[in-house]
Symmetry: C2
Subunit: 117 residues, 2 copies
Amino acid sequence: MFNRMVEQHSLDAVFHALADGTRRAMLERLSQGPHSVGDLAAPFDMSLAAASKHIQVLERAGLVRREIEGRSHKCSLEAAPMHAGAEWLRHYERFWNQRLDALERLLRQDSKKRKRK
Amino acid sequence: MFNRMVEQHSLDAVFHALADGTRRAMLERLSQGPHSVGDLAAPFDMSLAAASKHIQVLERAGLVRREIEGRSHKCSLEAAPMHAGAEWLRHYERFWNQRLDALERLLRQDSKKRKRK
């Protein structure tokens, strides 16, 4: 069930949805609880229509669920599709760790040399 | 030094670069070692020019370093900017874990009910 949920919303759509600061800020807001489209648009200097387009990109990636409550649309966070993105990135962890280890060695050698002087 | 490296290549550029299956496949190839532009293009049914455009997107995100060796361009993986993306996603881990826990509970209840029947 979980796997199917993730496959439906491909990595392309997830990473595309995350490639925009406004959409990332909307997700951060939704991590505090459900919000209406108006609430989500409010912190940004943008029309409801523009905010709605961003929310559509998030919905297409499966990251946001929109429900109609009376006259307002309530949006909730759906974090599950992010899991596939995080898993993809995890494979590269050893590469940036190698890089960090190399930087640390360089800094240590540098501080040893300075102490000797 | 590491922080500056990451800040220069914003999350927008990193997630945008990752939002394409061809570019993700190129990064997977580069994780095995440096490759020429021709090598990177070969598995895909695309021109060198098209492959070069994808590599440019990866370079702009700081994920690939291109060096000229004689007449060929050698590309190497630079995984460090992915770290910021992984860190961003890490904040949402608890949300997809909550969801997974809830699914697990549902499945357990379901199997208990079946056993009783």
